[in-house]
Chain length 349, copies 2
Amino acid sequence: MPRSPNSPRPKAGSVTLATVAQRAGVSPQTVSNALNSPELLRPETLERVRRTIDELGYRPHRAAQTLRTRSSKLIGYGIRPTAPGTSAPVMDRFLHALSQTADEAGYRILLFASPPGSAGLDGYEELLDLHSVDGFVLSGTERGDQRQAWLEKRGVPFVGFGRMWSGRQIGDWVDVDGASGTDAAVEHLVALGHRRIAFLGWPRGSGVGDDRAMGWQRAMQRHGLPVRGKRAQSIDDIASAQAAVGPLLDAGVTAVIAASDMLALGCYHALRERRAVPGKDVAVVGFDDSPTAALLSPGLSTVAQPLEAVGRECVRLLLARMSELGAPPERVLLEPSLVVRNSTSASDD
Amino acid sequence: MPRSPNSPRPKAGSVTLATVAQRAGVSPQTVSNALNSPELLRPETLERVRRTIDELGYRPHRAAQTLRTRSSKLIGYGIRPTAPGTSAPVMDRFLHALSQTADEAGYRILLFASPPGSAGLDGYEELLDLHSVDGFVLSGTERGDQRQAWLEKRGVPFVGFGRMWSGRQIGDWVDVDGASGTDAAVEHLVALGHRRIAFLGWPRGSGVGDDRAMGWQRAMQRHGLPVRGKRAQSIDDIASAQAAVGPLLDAGVTAVIAASDMLALGCYHALRERRAVPGKDVAVVGFDDSPTAALLSPGLSTVAQPLEAVGRECVRLLLARMSELGAPPERVLLEPSLVVRNSTSASDD
DNA sequence: CAACGGTTTTGGAACGCTCCAATGAACTCG
DNA sequence: CGAGTTCATTGGAGCGTTCCAAAACCGTTG
């Protein structure tokens, strides 16, 4: 990078390998080698070519490289219209990490918005052929997701954010250990002296939700605490969560662990309705650490997913897969962390 | 698309123009024409070629097209690490709309995460040369932003989400009329009978913030209401907003319009601190319609930006600019809309 | 000094597409 | 019925890069 920022650069875009070659008095191939296999060149030639490249501000033309090497250095990422269990802001952080890490490895993220209605497969096909992305990152994987199988059949490298919840495990994935998160929440509450700890979850059948429920259950059992009649379910919506958790509160639980911040918020409402104060009368724990969680009063204790790490891992696994298609699949389960706020440690805010 | 989903497709990726040409008994050029200038072909030839394309599942190779036509059909989008005044979830919706609209026009969005620290310009250069994006969408434009001038100098088509707040206006942009939003908020409050309406803004100097303040001010003046001593400022943080708005509340204002939902939330806290209820004792209006706004109790009335429309407009302007570089710049100012919730119409939730 | 391994450099072709100019076919008209 | 005109199709070149195999160079060695 030793070029003064304002040195007049021969109009970018028109500098090709040939230009550099001519100027440096070598063949185009040698210039190519200088970039791709520098060890082939005699040190002094390399130095000279490099200087020329720098002087002219040469940049290889990606399309030409892609055409020749059949590798686009592009990673496709399908943004979905906010799947359940994955709040938008959450995905935003993930996307950032993804892009950043990919960048560092010389890859770029090509966005791909699946139209709201479609199952989405047809679109992937097009994306694949058209732009010949080198690999895919899937997110918002759900039970019965067909994308993994589809991609595998075509031999396209991919990594899922989210494990496969049913059927045969296909390909690599990175996921967050939801059970471990709710387990930790139980531990936290038990340490505070709670014993009647309820779980407010989504209707059974969603992989993510069942996993989170399981963590609660196993931790409760480990402590010899009852789970019977301590579980309610609701769709991810405040009003219905509020209604669903009511009976549990009335039955006298002292703490509620919710499968999402949204559900936890329903719980806040149910408590207020009963003139009870979250964190003081009843402890509440959410899941996701959505921006809202910090803004509530009292602040909502919640389980935070390590999204940056997930993004990094996705890229890492994808790169590995691309470099060695036949390797055994790798699956990474990351630990979430409990963020403690006032909803589980009563003070006055 | 009249192909049964499971018909054996000759392994994709290896089908080229030449393959199709041979199969259809025409020259490669004719196949190319069938796709790009169908009006040149005799209807029956066109039909035959099209059928063959379909049978073979042919897709043009983007890199080859790019190499030849010098147009990548790629739009660069620099995601920034959440600039002030633009909350992450908000940008998420925008990104969706952007991608969707671009898609429909045959373009794709290439993500580009500027590393947190950097001013970011160097990165753009690389992105531009390397992947030869056809155009750029800038977001999170700020006072003194250098990107517009930089891009203009290089003759790269671009559109900003966010007007230029200082200096010479450069290029096209799309923005939301913040002043109009706060103006509407005043109207709404006046209609409810409020007269002592305060504004809680950011420190002066940010274009976005000053614009929002201005809308409040002009509407107040139009109604002959005093603005003196009715304004406070704070950085975008709950605690400091809470502190900043205190004196206004103590001075007896009946309504507060905040420059962001975050500030509005600080206002909620300040009210609670005084044992007052938002929406009942004092009306509060936020800005952004962040997901949190709907989740609060009482629900926060707030000014919502038409992000989907902004995304669409960005693509539209960018396409126009790309097709005619010399055209006079177009600037679009979109109207936000006031979302009324219980913070301005006291009921019990 | 011719022959030889090894290193360094090169020429030519190819990737898949579209541009351009030219050819062939069909049709009009003097 | 040949020349002119239009319409439909084609051949060849070239976009910028990398692959491949062959060539040039070099210092050793028999």
